[in-house]
Amino acid sequence: MFGLPLLSLIIFLPVLGILILFFIPKAQTSTIRGVSVATTLVTFLLSLLILAHFNTAQPGFQLEEKLSWIPQVNINYHVGVDGLSYSMIFLTALLCFLACFASFSIKDRIKEYFIFYLMLEVGMIGTFLALDLFLFYVFWEITLVPMYFLIGIWGGSRKEYAAIKFFLYTLAGSVFMLLGILALYFNSAPHTFSIVELIAQNSLFPRLFQNIIFAALFFGFAIKVPVFPFHTWLPDAHVEAPTPASVLLAGVLLKMGGYGFFRISYPILPEAAKFFAPAIALLALIGIVYGAFVAMAQTDFKKMVAYSSVSHMGFVMLGLASLNPIGFSGAYLQMFNHGIITGAMFLLVGVLYDRAHTRDLNAFGGLREVVPVFSGMLIFFSLASLGLPGLSGFVSEFLSLLGGFKAFRLFTIISVTGIIVTAGYILFMIQRILLGPLNPKWKSLAEINTREILTLVPLLILTLALGVYPKLILDILNPGLNLILKAIGVAN
């Protein structure tokens, strides 16, 4: 469209929003909200515009922009989009736009809230579009500080603890990732940070070197995904974060880890990917089953959804470790679907929390009578998250398991029990909240209002559409995934 650098536009549009917000006095809350909703809306429209320009069939990166940034060290501002990154920025733009509506329930320090909110969006979109490892790392770290403040200032009771825990976990991981990136830079033929060139010369790296670098990068990405032993920050961060922040945290931030594996670790270090595949599959298996088990024992609604994210992201790692086209499509699709479904679940938790001011599952009961529309929505998204066929959750879990079955038969058989336990704890949750006799305390609970319904309807449509006809998104993802598989040298 008349030669506009679309990708840089979508990355830095929220920065424009922040600048505008600076000049609005703190008192005019409605204008602040208006500006931020407008910014996120325009960003979302931009992502649709990019889709218009994006030719799904052609593999490789499109709409590339390259400017030299630090010539001495051959670092350049290099952004590009392909099927994989496009689906992620679409998800980010959509969730940011919807969560912006949910942010209207924030009452104090609204101006600072939206400044951090937009800063977060810049970091997220930037991470998915960066094709230069240095740029990727910078955007990766940019998301840390705003999320720290979002959890820290507007969070729940133990917000400081959760905020600093989130920050230090991710920082520790990303710092080792930096070492890995630097080592890659110094061992590439003409020292380069560009992902495309590194992939091109991925056969040059010796095997031992690949394993070390893979371990360093793994440490950074695994904390974000989160993979089993590094997941303890997630429940705290989710429980204490305000609703819109936890929507973005679960919807997008977790995907940056997975995206890192797909975009950087696997194509650049194929031998190490094959070498570590069984270990990652085992961690995935533990993640799925263990996450589901712990979710079963929760009494806090948000903590349960947090642990369910650990379990769902376990499928992503299983699909990733399977190293075959079905597993890869399943894993990536699971990241996208999990973003939408868990985003919606957190919005619903927010709706309930704004009215009932408690998240204790046992405090509810029989709400179906009082709030039928809310319970309809909750049932729909809970079924999506337990992988009911006809909804998007099923397709990706099915493909990940199918892919996993081919590569690691025993691990997949055990992780299939995971979906049974998932059904268990989700139905147990529905039973405690919606079914059974009405808890008299909630007799006067207010029904979900139109604003909240509007935030959920797009997610509902997407979940249904992708469940019934997944070709829509798989055609976008397939060229990118096939390229990565070719880079790894797996027979497509």
Partner: protein, 480 residues
């Protein structure tokens, strides 16, 4: 001994001369006229002129005064930095209430003299000149450390700084005398030539050089000689602490660099491994003790020790890439630290306390100051799009390129630990409820310095290109 060549060399040290004359003029006028602000503006003007002069004159590498000083891009780099530091310090101390008005005059004079001392240290290439430069700077530092007359802490910090400082410099002197005895010359190049050939007993020579290192290490607060740092930083008036955390530290690195890389190459191969360990210990000590600090000046003191540790890595690497990363790190460190201290001064001017818990809820009432401090602290922690990250990035890449993996990993872990205590301050400012309603309006001059520091931190972070060209050009003089 004809004097002619020396007169020719005078024009090379013109900046130092201008500043000394300006200092003397200020000293005289401080007695005569009442309006101390005029003196401040005069000193700023003189610094401005010297800065213009230095940046304009093309650098011709010659040795001056028969080897005492050397005029090269390395020295020019330190001239420029020291003048910038002096400008910043004077700007942020204009409204500083603790220094009583009638002593302001001498204060500016001392700052100018200290700048000349740093310039000399930057250019010294002879052990005598190094000793004189170090002593000159130390004396001025002892005075301005104890400058807050009535305050108990300030005089205690002055005493501590004096006693420990003199002890260390005397050890250095003793070491110089032994080295002189061994090589028969005081000129760094000659010493290096003599020692490089016949290292008969490397151990004995290394001990001598170690004693010299103690003297130099004292200035940059390296591990064994860092004990004075927290007490002096806490006691001295805050603008002085700001100066200490940046001025003498950079001068110390300048001398260390010149001494190690031209004076004793052989020493370097022999003892780089030791310096590496000292660097790691410095980082660890700096970061760990900072975790449980409650006074922000002490916290920034330990943080400056830790940053000295990171910079030491650049020194330990020693190759060209190592020096570039050292210079970049020092530059970014100067900007961030001065910015942070500017905010601390503004806050302590209003609420008269440096305890971290008094910073509670600062973001609610003076959001601009809190945001500025947060940016500086984040930059100190090395979070990207800020200058600190560029500094750390260079140090890590240099370490990895030259294969110092253990150093890199130690630095990386330390930066995570460091992030924690920087976040203690940010947490108190943003996440806690304020007791009193403190509305702080920084003085215009301090505000000006603050804005420049903020812009520089963001600019270096986002587009570090110009700074790198400047640094790489200056540090190209060393051979290895």
């Amino acid at each position: 001994m004809n004097v002619a060549p020396f007169i020719a060399d005078i024009k090379y040290i013109l900046p130092e001369i201008i500043l000394t004359i300006a200092a003397l003029v200020i000293l005289i006028f401080s007695v005569l006229i009442k309006n101390k602000r005029a003196l401040a503006y005069f000193s700023l003007a003189s610094l401005g002129i010297t800065l213009l002069y230095v940046s304009k004159t093309p650098v011709i590498t010659t040795s001056l005064f028969s080897g005492m000083l050397v005029n090269d891009s390395f020295a020019a780099f330190f001239k420029i930095i020291s003048i910038i530091i002096a400008l910043a310090v004077i700007l942020i101390s204009l409204e500083y209430k603790e220094i009583s008005p009638n002593y302001r005059g001498e204060f500016y004079c001392f700052i100018l003299l200290a700048t000349t001392a740093i310039m000399f240290m930057g250019a010294a290439s002879n052990l005598l000149m190094i000793y004189l430069g170090v002593e000159f700077l130390s004396l001025i530092s002892y005075i301005i450390a104890a400058y807050w007359r009535g305050n108990v802490k300030s005089s205690e910090s002055g005493l501590k700084y004096f006693l420990i400082g003199t002890a260390c410099s005397i050890t250095m002197l003793y070491g110089i005398s032994l080295l002189y005895g061994l090589t028969g010359s005081l000129d760094l190049e000659q010493i290096n030539a003599i020692l490089y050939g016949n290292t008969s007993q490397p151990a004995a020579i290394s001990i001598i050089i170690l004693t010299i290192l103690i003297g130099l290490g004292f200035k940059i607060a390296m591990v064994p000689v860092h004990f004075w740092c927290p007490d002096v930083y806490e006691g001295a008036p805050t603008p002085v602490t700001a100066f200490f955390s940046v001025g003498p530290k950079i001068a110390g690195f300048a001398v260390l660099l010149r001494f190690l890389l031209t004076g004793s190459i052989f020493f370097y191969e022999h003892w780089a491994h030791l310096l590496g360990i000292l660097a790691i210990i410095t980082m660890v000590v700096g970061n760990l003790t900072a975790l449980s600090q409650t006074n922000i000046k002490r916290l920034l003191a330990y943080s400056s020790i830790a940053h000295a540790g990171y910079a030491l890595i650049g020194l330990v690497i020693g190759t060209h890439i190592g020096q570039v990363s050292l210079f970049v790190y020092l530059l970014t460190y100067t900007v961030m630290n001065l910015g942070a201290f500017a905010v601390v001064i503004a806050v302590s001017n209003k609420i008269k306390s440096d305890e971290i818990k008094d910073y509670a809820g600062l973001s609610l009432h003076s959001p601009y100051l809190a945001a500025a401090l947060a940016v500086f602290l984040l930059s100190l922690a090395g979070i990207p799009p800020l200058a600190g990250f560029i500094g750390k990035f260079y140090i890590f890449s240099a370490a990895i390129e030259e294969g110092f993996i253990t150093l890199a990993i130690a630095a990386v872990i330390n930066s995570v630990i460091a992030a924690y205590y920087y976040f203690i301050v940010i947490k108190t400012m943003y996440l806690e409820k304020p007791q009193a309603k403190i509305e702080i309006k920084p003085a215009p001059s301090l505000n000006f310095a603050l804005i420049i520091a903020l812009i520089l931190t963001l600019a270096i972070g986002i587009y570090p290109q110009p700074i790198l060209d400047f640094v790489i050009h200056t540090s190209s003089i060393f051979i290895p």
